[in-house]
């Protein structure tokens, strides 16, 4: 199942906040990944 299939308007408040936190956490990880590799590239 794809994340786009999650109906955001149907999920509970708690589920909404937990997917917000998890998404945010993964974005932070990806950002860090970009920074680290930019340094390595040089």
């Amino acid at each position: 199942m794809e994340i786009s299939e999650i109906n955001l308007s149907k999920i509970t408040n708690e589920e909404l906040l937990s997917i917000y936190n998890r998404t945010k956490e993964y974005i932070d990880f990806l950002e860090n990944e970009i920074k680290t590799n930019e340094v390595e590239k040089k």
């Binding site: 199942m1 794809e2 994340i3 786009s4 299939e5 999650i6 955001l8 308007s9 999920i11 509970t12 408040n13 708690e14 589920e15 909404l16 906040l17 937990s18 997917i19 917000y20 998890r22 998404t23 945010k24 993964y26 974005i27 990806l30 950002e31 990944e33 970009i34 590799n37 930019e38 390595e40 590239k41």
Partner: protein, 536 residues
Amino acid sequence: MSSPIEILNEKIDTDKEILAVLPKNTKKNVEAYIKKVQEIKINYEKYLGSILGEIQERVNKINEIKVNPEIKEVEEDLEKFNNLDLLGIGNTSYEKMKLDELLFILRRFYKNNLEQVNNNILACIRRFAEVGVDLKPEDFNYSPFARRYMKTFFREYKKGDVNSQTMKDTFEKLYWECSDIIVHIELNIRYLYLKHEKAIDKHFANENKLILKDLETSDREYLEKYRTLKAKLDDLKGPDKKLILDKFLNKEMDPKDYEPIAIDKQFEKVLSQPIDTYVKTELNDIKENIVKLSKTLEEYQNYLKYKFVFNDLLKIYKEKDKYKNGYERQKKEIQKLESKLVKTNRKYEKTDRFKEMIFFKKNSDEKLKTLTIDINNQILSIKELYRKIDDDKVYDKIATMLTDNSTIYDALFLAGSFYTFLVESIIKEFPDIPEKEINENVAKIREFITSPYITIINNVTIKEDKDMALMIKDKYNLFNINITKADLEESSIGALINTVEQLVNAYNLENSGLDLEDVKFILKANKILEEINKNS
């Protein structure tokens, strides 16, 4: 079926695997790797945007909750009572004009600053104008010093600043000539009140009639009407969804205190048996009685706090025969001395007019000195009588209005009408109390005696020695609420009040229809939204 978080984790794991297999051994490969990471990141950022949109929408929906419009209506009805003296049964037009409060600052001028003193003189002049007496500089003829000060005062008042440099300089100059200058002005204002007392009384009688007509009530019923409205307002505000939500948002209430487990724990503190032994209807009755208990505790705590006022009043009541008609006697005595003072002041003015003529100069200077001393001495004697008349007025009322059948409430209500009596009682009980706290206490006492929740002290007469704590304990024990006399002691009642307050809040929350889950959500969501706004 997978939960949203499981679906998201699966997707993240897949993306992690995609990244893990990408080579990073050359610069070109690293560049390709970064590009892929950026591509994935953009997708997640878009998704985060949708999540935030949904969060915002849910927050908006919760924020749409409005305060019950009936609350505003009742508040507006209560505002009409602002101009009505709720404590007016016992007091006189002097208290109604608030001259007792305003002049008390002047009486204790050494505890205040000159600006405060001038502001209060101005407030007195305005209070006189409001009751139809327009004071002029020539009304301040209590002494040559009061006259000189007030002449400048009125001039500066016209210019718009009673705390101007000219005013300060005038005070500085006059103070060294007569350090009792503020006492002279205070007594002059009191003299002016007595001079116009009848007209002022008439003004208040007419004004009261109009207000009572507007409120569609009578002088016997208005306090009851006020109390009924106050209670109605509390009943509306208590379970109001929006007001409860605001308490959570303002951190006055914490959601974790209202989780079922936390509330059961509080219940167990006041129930005689474990909570699960009660059936639903029994628990509902208990909850309603806890709301009543909260009002009883508030009343009893206030009584304990201000018992000293009642005790002071009781002492006077026990010697009441000494005080009957004391006020009228004292007033006549003051007026007699004041007519003498008027004559001395006239002599002073006359001598002062001739002073500039060389022929009279030496003689006049000497005469003025003698007259000044005479005026000061007369004023000091009158001052003592005025200090006494404040007490006599209250003592007289206590002697004539209270009987052995009067209740503690009747006594406190009467005391509450007299500012100076309250203040003296407060200062006697707390000698080091800061000035600001004196008035705060006066306001609290008055709020207490006009509260709609008086049920104990209006059932105990001033002569009875009833154990009120026992009465409260026994009454609520009958309704399955387990409180002890020790819980009601002054040192521990605060803890019981906190427990009961939390239970009342929980009861209101239950009746409000506000979902605790929504509250927890909005608190977390607001933090997220604030963080985003801060970073954008």
